[in-house]
Symmetry: C2
Subunit: 329 residues, 2 copies
């Protein structure tokens, strides 16, 4: 049907071995042959079959990106989409393809195993939350490199620098004159919330004259909770650092109703730059990271391992940056 390596060989007047050498950039080939083969390939619109090639070299040039579509908390947002796109792009530049695989249930985990032993994929990128012991053990045993998104006890991971993010937020507020700060966290069990608090805390304690009264408040319902928190508060600090946009959104609305001027009377900084940050009134200042870049980096880390052949241990913390808008001075 389609044109094969044999057709090219015949057309070029060489053997298939020579064509194959050309395809693989082998040094064992004369310039003259190179030219002939190149011409024939163009003339015939030849495209090597990855299936045949993959079969002999036992590689598919594709990596799996694991997701859990049953976990809206982790994946129901577009930053995940951006990570994915970033990874696809970076991988594409190295000639690799990206396959999506949801592994919510145990059945799907078996599916992953199947894919791995079938050699359908050469590597995997997965969120740390999905990195169960059995899964990682399987990957290691099958000699498939993987990189995690999010800190982990496993060797290779990449994450945003949440501690730094918390520190930056607090420092900015202190520099802007806030004498008393309060951290509001949505979800005390989430590690990124706790990391942001850790950074916040370090920055506050570094200044002898700063009061960290109400040092930390935890809520768990986003906007509604943030709103309630403000309406019921007796006294307010000079500034809030809030773990997420939605909680901040609710707080700002309540502040507005109480006619508290932001940022004049109270300042606020949150994290992650989403649509909600821009809908806040006034617009929310935020410590953000470039999530697409995170995906790109993850892909590059994996590519390195794919090349090295064996595990090179890598950890990477992505830098964050402050986006000053209207809730901070």
């Amino acid at each position: 049907m389609s044109v094969t390596i044999r057709d090219v060989a015949k057309h070029a007047g060489v053997s298939v071995a020579t064509v194959s050498r050309y395809l693989n950039n082998s040094p064992l080939i004369a310039q003259e042959s190179v030219d002939k083969v190149r011409n024939s390939i163009q003339a015939l619109h030849y495209e090597p079959s990855f299936l045949a090639r993959g079969m002999v070299i036992q590689r598919s040039q594709t990596v799996a990106f694991l997701v859990d579509d049953e976990n809206p908390d982790t994946f129901g947002n577009d930053s995940f989409l951006k990570i994915q796109y970033g990874a696809e792009r970076a991988l594409g530049e190295h000639g690799y393809y990206l396959m999506i695989l949801s592994v919510g249930s145990a059945a799907r985990e078996k599916a992953l195993r199947k894919i791995v032993v079938e050699k359908r994929i050469d590597g995997v990128i997965l969120p740390a939350q999905l990195a169960k012991k059995t899964l990682c053990a399987m990957l290691t045993e099958q000699d498939v490199p993987f990189v995690l998104i999010g800190k982990s006890k496993f060797s290779n991971w990449i994450d945003l620098d949440n501690v730094m993010a918390g520190r930056i937020a607090a420092e900015k507020l202190i520099a802007a004159g806030a004498g008393s700060l309060c951290f509001v966290g949505n979800g005390s069990d989430k590690v990124f919330v706790n990391e942001r608090y850790e950074g916040f805390s370090a920055a506050v304690h570094a200044q002898a004259n700063i009061v960290a009264e109400l040092p930390r408040i935890d809520c768990k319902s986003g906007a509604v909770c943030g709103y309630d928190l403000i309406t019921s508060a007796k006294e307010l600090p000079d500034a809030f650092v809030v773990s997420d946009n939605e909680t901040a959104f609710g707080m700002l609305r309540a502040l507005d109703e109480r006619s508290v001027k932001v940022p004049d009377q109270i300042q606020m900084i949150s994290f992650d730059d989403g649509i909600v940050a821009r809908l806040c009134h006034p617009m929310l200042s935020v410590v953000d990271i470039d999530v697409k870049q995170l995906g790109i980096q993850a892909a590059n880390m994996l590519y390195l391992q794919l090349q090295a052949g064996r595990d090179v241990s890598q950890q990477c913390l992505m830098p964050v940056r402050l986006i000053s808008r209207e809730t901070s001075r």
Copy 2:
């Protein structure tokens, strides 16, 4: 290295042909052989190589999902992620895998061609916006079935029923007593906006006593535009149908500032149920569709074509539903 069909054959005391027949559920095999082979496969943990199989049958059991990561307008939202997950799930149940491929630039379009002729994929799902003539022609020529997400002149597509959505919104408002309605659209060049208006329009004109003054207002910057629109409006209709959540958000904030009671004095209905709808104050009533279901359906349509072997022309309009919240009576 890994166990092959030959190992299984030897272990089971049959020929590789028989094992292959078992693998392919061939009827040409005795029950006795079936049992022997099944046992051996389990004993040996045999997993057939998709690469070898794919090479002979010229199929890879994977479909490509095309995206354009440079177009934030279409893909910078989580509904796209849900479509993707839905597709992955549905495909997975049929034993197919999902590969992501971004095709923003011309270079990537060549990459798609390569993937197709390499037989790396058996079919493709793509947003209608990406369905350029050359691309579809290539797919057709290469005999690769595809389904579009969004209405199209090409044969197979699936879309949300935007006309119906517009109609439902208007009818609900009319039934709730609105005597004058106004449609606010964000982006007069977007087909889904125009379709929603079309349904709105039909519903309004069906009622002789309904006034459609200010029949349609177009803006193009979301929240800010919605806000300005209300602050500068001289008189207001009984109800608004708004093409998107963000514009509605801005309008509601302005209404609040003007102390117009919603939904008592003015009602409002928008489309798509996102996070913003719930952050509106009062919470936005919305006509929504199940986007994940859209992905599932798209996958099923493609699967049908993959099975049928040849093009079966299908169009599918996904039903929508009203989610009544606080902005409608």
